[in-house]
Symmetry: C2
Subunit: 214 residues, 2 copies
């Protein structure tokens, strides 16, 4: 998004605000901490926009701050599938961890810093969205996991489920940078190619054991 | 623990197995992924111990693999307090993110790699424990957050709530390495000094705004 804004509004400073924030909680004054990214001047803007319960942490990593908020929606669909299929909390925690490792690899390939993706706009937002069964993306995954078809789920919804198109877009970026994203790829194949959920789970579980950092 | 084992059993190879794993789910054959740390030979042991649904990822970071499983219990108490006081999901997600950043700083100070702490034995275990209101440490925090006293909570329990002594031990290590751990310190002051929960929350929210990576 920041690249599009820069094209449309050249010479304007660009800031990105992202992180774990259900709007209803923010309006109720409940504590919320977010990342504010910008090239310069972010500290002043953060001071001006913050309150006691609305805390902005600054960074100059504009690209990194945008990646978590987008790709978390794909992970939320994956976590929904695991929840809908009653695969357990161990599996969901592992999926969040390995999924976030994919997001970090993609982000670093695009020029982001891994610290940003392990911060509020990455890890924080992933934890929030992947623990909220009522959120659009996770609830889509839950319905898929229970055996509903994508077409029937979408026909009963009016809102947009961002994760569907984000999965394809993220994979395009990953391919261009030679990055392997097995979790995102499995979600995309379930959504686009009508791949069987059980086959995709079996494929993920059949991947070779490896070094965790690899 | 690995240092004690090395003292007691010199010349023996040491391996550490840690990660997000409710035992009841493991015994039911639900998918579980863990970190297996050891100096050499971990790949063979991982192959021997793994099954389709029980997957071990290897690392040589023995210290890093032990830190998450210990300090997550302190974070779980903190997340319980936030849950018991009904401070919202935004606050819990921020607490997990900033708390894990403290764990990473301590781990790196002790010679661990940050990737390990962002893996299954760190992030993965934190996500599992901090989302499980029925777990010992989080349930203690929930009761504290609702206003019960520590003495009355402990008098009605038989099991050990590890996070209580871990908070003090972690702070001792942090002090020796010059590392700031505001979340762990707030939990320790609530538990040991009977500090008021509202005062500790106000103190955390009054900390100066800063760069997220600082």
């Amino acid at each position: 998004m920041s690249e599009i804004v820069a094209e449309e509004l050249p010479q304007h400073p660009i800031f990105v605000l992202s992180g774990p924030s259900f709007a209803t909680e923010v309006t109720r004054g409940l504590p919320t901490a977010l990342t504010l990214a910008g090239e310069t001047g972010g500290e002043n803007l953060a001071q001006a926009m913050s309150s006691t319960t609305f805390r902005l942490y600054t960074t100059d990593d504009i690209i990194g701050t945008q990646i978590g908020g987008a790709i978390k929606n794909v992970l939320a669909i994956a976590c929904g599938i695991v929840t809908g299929r009653e695969m357990g909390e161990n599996a969901r925690a592992a999926l969040i961890t390995r999924g976030l490792a994919e997001i970090v690899k993609l982000g670093v390939g695009l020029g982001a810093r891994s610290e940003t993706l392990m911060g509020l706009s990455g890890l924080g937002d992933v934890v929030l969205t992947c623990s909220s069964p009522q959120s659009r993306n996770m609830s889509l995954g839950i319905a898929l996991g229970r055996g509903e078809s994508l077409a029937s789920i979408l026909s009963s919804r009016s809102g947009v489920t961002e994760g569907i198109s984000t999965a394809t877009a993220a994979l395009g970026l990953a391919r261009r940078h030679g990055i392997d994203m097995p979790v995102v790829s499995a979600v995309d194949r379930i959504l686009r190619d009508k791949a069987s959920i059980d086959d995709m789970i079996a494929e993920l579980l059949a991947r070779p054991l490896r070094n965790e950092a690899a």
